[in-house]
């Protein structure tokens, strides 16, 4: 199987969907002639032309709103936010229009829109560029939210997102763009709403999404090597809809859960997972559910400190040891 980067996997998904469906178009800042600020759309403008791959002015509220309107008319816009942090200037369009138009119209309208881009800290760009709004977005019934951790998942989920008939917020991560992994050639789709057990284990469940999955995997490796603890790693992949069954199956097997989440802790994605586990698997637990989130402050710039603000394998290991 070919080994390609997360970036190339996304690029392949976009190219294949542009090829497959005339109603798909890409739009965003620097996506066309510049080949993408992070090169996700590299080569696509040259291949598909001005109509299908469109550079925008710096005007997120305007062009995201345009995408919502175009999606209401049956097109399938894939809108790039250079950073998900910039969604905040387009929030009305995402929440009120993309998220609510179906409901407000009593089901007369649907909005097959994808909004994609990186949503992560850890790149020393300060608080304004380091937001992880998956929890905010998943708090809106009407929106779907996915967050792939691997190249394989990135391609399959992007295809599912583009073909989905509801608005999908697709959260990537600049720190993952260069990661390599096996990705089959050609068409495959990973359904939205299906989690994936990235590593089997018996003693504790580490539950994460996005890059935190890799942090959890690193922790699981060391727990095994250094402490003889067998950790299972569950990758949510999709936050809304949520695959509760895979989470519960894992917790019922291991009886312990540590949630790893690059969100801030207050009302983060892991808050929802924690409440769900205690509601539905309380009797299966041998210890309180623990969380490892980003430290609860705006993202700090200082490079060596920011590394510690995000969840680290060390912090995950400490939490696991505390309940083992």
């Amino acid at each position: 199987m070919p080994v390609i980067t997360y970036r190339q996997a996304l690029n392949e998904a976009l190219a294949e969907e542009l090829e497959r469906d005339e109603s798909v178009f890409l739009m965003g800042e620097e996506v066309a002639e510049y080949n993408g600020a992070y090169k996700i759309t590299e080569g696509l403008w040259k291949r598909f032309g001005d109509k299908r791959v469109i550079d925008t002015p710096i005007s997120e509220a305007g062009f995201i709103g345009l995408g919502v309107g175009a999606a209401m008319m049956g097109l399938r816009p894939v809108m790039e936010l250079m950073f998900w942090s910039f969604a905040y200037v387009a929030y009305d369009q995402i929440i009120n229009n993309a998220g609510c138009v179906r409901y407000m119209s009593g089901g007369l309208i649907n909005c097959p829109l994808v909004i994609r881009g990186p949503a992560n800290g850890g790149t020393n760009v300060g608080a304004t560029h380091s937001h992880t709004p998956e929890n905010f977005l998943a708090n809106t019934p009407g929106l779907k939210v996915v967050s792939p951790a691997t190249p394989y998942d990135a391609k399959g989920l992007m295809k599912a997102a583009i073909r989905d008939n509801d608005p999908v917020c697709f959260m990537e991560n600049t720190l993952l763009y260069g990661d390599q992994g096996e990705v089959p050639e050609g068409d495959y789709v990973i359904p939205i709403g299906v989690a994936d057990v990235k590593r089997e284990g018996t003693d504790v469940s580490l539950i994460a999404h996005g890059r935190a999955v890799l942090t959890a995997l690193a922790a699981a490796h060391r727990l095994s090597e250094e402490f003889n603890i067998s950790a299972e790693v569950v990758d949510l992949r999709s936050i809304r809809p949520l695959d509760e069954q895979t989470i519960l199956d894992s917790v019922r097997k291991t009886h312990r859960a540590v949630l790893v989440d690059e969100n801030k802790p207050f009302c983060g994605v892991s808050s929802q997972i924690a409440t769900m586990i205690q509601e539905q698997a309380f009797d299966d637990l041998d210890a309180p559910v623990q969380r490892v989130c980003s430290l609860d402050a705006p993202a700090i710039y200082s490079p060596p400190i920011e590394v510690q603000q995000l969840p680290t394998a060390d912090r995950v290991i400490q939490k696991v040891l505390a309940i083992s």
């Binding site: 305007g62 709103g65 309107g69 008319m73 097109l75 695959d243």
Partner: protein, 365 residues
């Protein structure tokens, strides 16, 4: 009596006879009577809805369009097969003109399952995509980029059409409107922005909200876009100037900003506690006496020998009857069931697709 209208060039005494404009010259008498019927239907519908509101049968807000009827009728009657429309929260008039029934609209106001949005949208959120009408939007100026996107889609699909995108004078100060203007002109998008200038953004007069007071449409010059101002009480002028803008969109994919002067008789919404404080009752009375678009159109039809008092009364009686019937329909209709709250959120769930059955979509206790 002097009423302070924004210091704008008065178009009321314009020497141009818009009745002779090509889009108006061939109008048949029954079409002209149809415009009267449409305006009266809006007014009688809203008067009936106001009664229901005052009886406490309606929740939330009720933004009445009364006084502005000639704008919706003058513009929307021009729509062809590939022309679309979208507006803000003062949407009842637009909905009725595009062909939505009084029944479904009145039922929506009462939050009934038979409402156009099944009781999920309310007064501000009427939609009829089958009639090219895309709402009904509650956030000021939030619909302005949606209209842009609808027009973008028309061009993308190579359809000759445009999107009439309505906003109020209060919306021109929102950033997203300006972003939309820039994109529309930059990309040659066939959108027609129609500012319904009723002079008040809630309780704030135009003089207190706009740095440039004489004209709002002129802001389009900042985006290399055509613009015009329109005397909204003159149905012929509304039609002629709107048609020019639509032609510009159809033939050249060029956008336009139209500012149509109009006036609302009621408050921002019926719940507007200061409705009679930020303007004098005499001002409202002055407009009712001298600038009522329905009275003016009735007079015009009489002058043209198309209508007399008896014909007008008959049309008005029919509108009142239709409105009364819609009240009855709405009152007799059932409310939605509690479990209906979870329909119409995700298309995939509603349709029972595989995607809609994968993973948990709703997170209740």
């Amino acid at each position: 009596m002097s009423v302070a209208r924004a210091e704008k060039p008065k178009t009321e005494s314009s020497p141009v006879d818009y009745a002779k404009a090509p889009i108006n010259a061939d109008l048949k008498p029954e079409q002209k009577l149809g415009f009267l019927a449409d305006m009266l239907r809006i007014r009688r519908f809203e008067q009936a809805s106001l009664k229901l509101y005052q009886q406490g049968k309606m929740g939330g807000f009720l933004h009445l369009y009364i006084g502005q009827e000639s704008v919706a009728v003058g513009t929307l009657a021009l729509m062809g097969q590939n022309d679309h429309a979208i507006t803000a929260y003062r949407d009842h008039g637009h909905a009725l003109v595009v062909g939505m029934s009084m029944n479904e609209c009145m039922a929506e106001l009462l939050g009934k399952a038979t409402g156009c949005s099944k009781g999920k949208g309310g007064s501000m959120h009427f939609f009829a995509p089958d009639k090219n009408f895309w709402g009904g939007h509650g956030i000021v100026a939030g619909q302005t980029p949606l209209g842009l996107g609808i027009a973008f889609a028309l061009k993308y699909k190579r359809l000759k059409g445009c999107c009439l995108t309505y906003l109020g004078d209060g919306a021109v100060n929102q950033g997203v409107f300006h972003e939309s203007l820039n994109l529309a002109a930059l990309w040659d998008i066939p959108v027609v922005y129609i500012i319904e200038n009723n002079q008040y953004s809630m309780g704030t007069s135009l003089a207190r909200s706009s740095a440039v007071k004489a004209c709002l449409a002129e802001r389009a010059t900042g985006y290399d876009m055509d613009w015009d101002i329109v005397n909204g009480e003159n149905l012929y002028e509304v039609r002629a100037k709107t048609w020019d803008a639509m032609q510009r969109a159809h033939e050249k994919n060029r956008p336009t900003v139209l500012e149509i002067d109009t006036y609302r008789y009621y408050g921002h919404s019926v719940a507007d506690a200061n409705a009679k404080k930020y303007r004098k009752p005499e001002e409202i009375e002055f407009y009712k006496q001298n600038h009522d678009p329905i009275t003016l159109w009735e007079n015009r039809l009489k002058e043209e020998g198309i209508a007399d008092d008896a014909i007008i009364k008959k049309i008005d009686d029919e509108a009142k009857k239709e409105a009364a019937a819609s009240v009855q329909f709405a009152e007799d209709s059932p409310f939605p069931e509690l479990q209906d709250i979870f329909d119409d959120i995700y298309y995939e769930v509603d349709m029972g697709t595989k995607a809609g059955k994968t993973g948990r979509h709703f997170f209740n206790d």
